[in-house]
Symmetry: C2
Subunit: 383 residues, 2 copies
């Protein structure tokens, strides 16, 4: 139930020695066809890692034969030498698989500002090529983990075809994109022109709505590969639905495994004048560090929710705002509602609903609480 669940794909994960932990750190996903259609979305961070710059070009013509991924180093802020490292990585994969280097997507994740140990990486790619297997998806998912505590895979079975996926990402989860690295595969036979819109629609409402800590990565990549190996022709709507289902599953797993988090928080904004307004308000609440600290302390401090809403440009009347936390309406018409002591925040999942009473649009952002463990993990980062 991974990137190798759909037919036409092989994958592998090996230990190349990039991580000091000695865990798997190089993954390879190969599309054996017959189709080699692909689309991808990347971080919107203007400081993008070398592999992102490379992979944008690779994907531009809609064909990808393989994706090589490493943890243990982001290859970001490494200048021209870093880009040459990425280029060399793609050329090495291309020569081993007998495909064009320009059809090899490269993804890296780990510490920013350090060169990759290329000898170890290239040796690892040799081993990963030897290890390619039709059931290699789960070990590939393991090899892209950084501070993740569990490997993340998902799939959606449809009538004679399927979509599979894997993701890594535990910190620096924010728009747009919300995760570091994701590979999604399908064996559907699709018009190559629909892959890009299908992937964009799927990520828009899933990964783009995870905002764990407001920090945007330099390496975010989501790539979708279609092999056509099922022989089943699938239209854009069907494809989008299944890809979105896999992305939603993976996005929820990212939130559940966010660095140091004790709570997963859904901030749902309703009755907004527009979806953009709903998103702006939900994101403002999701990024408010005081609110996130309060949730960590199981404190239903709804005043901090209102203070965050008030920083936005969305249409609303402050005297009309309603807020509920885990179904207790603690704020009514901008003022005091039900007793805050009725709110139970002891569970992992917290649901905050903000009603703007300005229209009928809605949006939900998933975030996490701000905890001692988050501070600890990110002040002692070394992987």
């Amino acid at each position: 139930m991974s990137v190798t669940t759909p037919r036409g794909f092989r994958a592998s994960g090996v230990v190349a020695g990039l991580k000091s932990s000695g865990r798997p750190d190089v993954a390879l996903v190969v599309n054996d066809g017959p189709d080699h259609h692909a689309a991808a979305v990347f971080t919107s961070n203007r400081v993008e890692a070398a592999p992102v710059t490379w992979s944008r070009t690779v994907v531009a013509d809609g064909r990808v034969d393989a994706v090589v991924l490493n943890s243990g180093g982001a290859n970001a802020c490494t200048g021209a030498p870093g880009f040459q490292d990425t280029h060399r990585t793609a050329e090495h994969v291309g020569s081993l698989l007998d495909v064009a280097p320009g059809d090899v997507v490269v993804c890296s994740t780990g510490l920013i500002g350090e060169r990759l140990p290329m000898d170890r990486l290239l040796d690892g790619i040799d081993a990963a090529t030897d290890a390619l297997a039709a059931d290699g998806g789960p070990v590939a998912a393991e090899a892209i983990m950084t501070t993740d505590t569990v490997a993340k895979t998902a799939h959606a079975d449809r009538d004679g075809w399927s979509v599979g996926g894997m993701a890594k990402g535990a910190g620096m989860l924010a728009p747009a994109l919300a995760t570091m690295l994701v590979v999604v595969t399908t064996d559907a036979v699709v018009d190559p022109a629909v892959l890009d819109p299908a992937l964009r629609e799927a990520t828009r409402t899933t990964f783009d709505r995870v905002d764990s800590d407001g920090c945007m990565s330099t390496n975010d990549t989501v790539v979708l590969l279609a092999s056509g190996a099922s022989g089943v022709e699938v239209g854009e709507a069907e494809l989008t639905e299944a890809v979105a289902a896999v992305c939603a599953d993976l996005a929820r797993q990212l939130v559940a495994d966010a660095e140091g988090a004790h709570h997963d928080i859904a901030v749902e904004v309703r009755t907004a004048a527009s979806e953009d307004d709903a998103l702006e308000v939900a994101r403002a609440v999701a990024r408010n560090t005081l609110f996130k600290c309060a949730v960590f302390g199981n404190d239903p401090n709804w005043g901090r929710v209102l203070a965050a809403v008030g920083t936005t440009t969305a249409a609303f009347d402050p005297a009309a705002l309603d807020v509920s936390m885990n179904a207790v309406q603690v704020c009514r018409a901008g003022g005091v509602g039900e007793d805050r002591s009725l709110v139970d925040l002891s569970g992992r999942e917290v649901r905050v609903v903000v009603d703007l009473h300005a229209g009928d649009a809605t949006a939900t952002i998933w975030t996490n609480d701000l905890t001692h463990d988050y501070v600890h993990e990110n002040s002692a980062y070394s992987t």
Copy 2:
């Protein structure tokens, strides 16, 4: 050396019982004239507390006779009854001092979403009126503290006149404004028309450039009172300089006493195409939780600085960015610079300099690190 350093002012601070700690919690500052000129700036949060709504109106005509301030409750998100409480507070002060209620500024700070215990507050105002004294500034500064660990006062002596000030604020420090409550006094004889521009210019480059935790308060108020009691006529430029000096002093004290902070961080952006660009970049870095956690851990993780810079719309070439931390140039031309191990972050003050190489504008934002103590204080907030 406080709000009562300039002539023409009396002040007091008393225990009214609003704080469970039993510390002083009601302050009064009275301008005995001969002038009663005033200007103020307030939070730009659209969810503003009742006292902010009230005080905007009070200041509109440029005359203020007294400022009454309470800690132990913000009177925010309290609806129409909360506004009536503020109104009643001003009327009570007005009747005791024999001034118009419409010339009494009201400031409140503390927990959002709870009504003030009005009986205790009004009794406290009686006591504060009895206690008014020409040397009452320091105790007034003490009475507005919430999670502040020290009272904050400042003054600037000029030729025959002076400016004094007090501030409270330890959390929820962000633009615009960066602090909760500030009163600045002067005995200069000034054209009332210059007070507002002088205060706005002074706050623009001081309080507005403190961004401790990115959270904007519902109650921020900075009020400037001019008594004319020195008899010395002062022009706009002189006044602005002295008010800015006091505001800068107070702003630096706010950063130094920010909740749970272990480091004070100056993020200076240079060679920007515009001051707006410099500010946008400096604020993006100052709000990056991963960078702030790294500083807490004395880790010069400059990649997180670049990742934050990359989220902005400022003019720059990612391959031209330079970053130094405490004078060590860890990033050169977007890539690896000097060895990060040369950076010593063990001191309280940290200076990060980002060069955009896109022009000649500059700006500095002061922020703090993100620590276990910040999380703890804000997950257990109850004052």
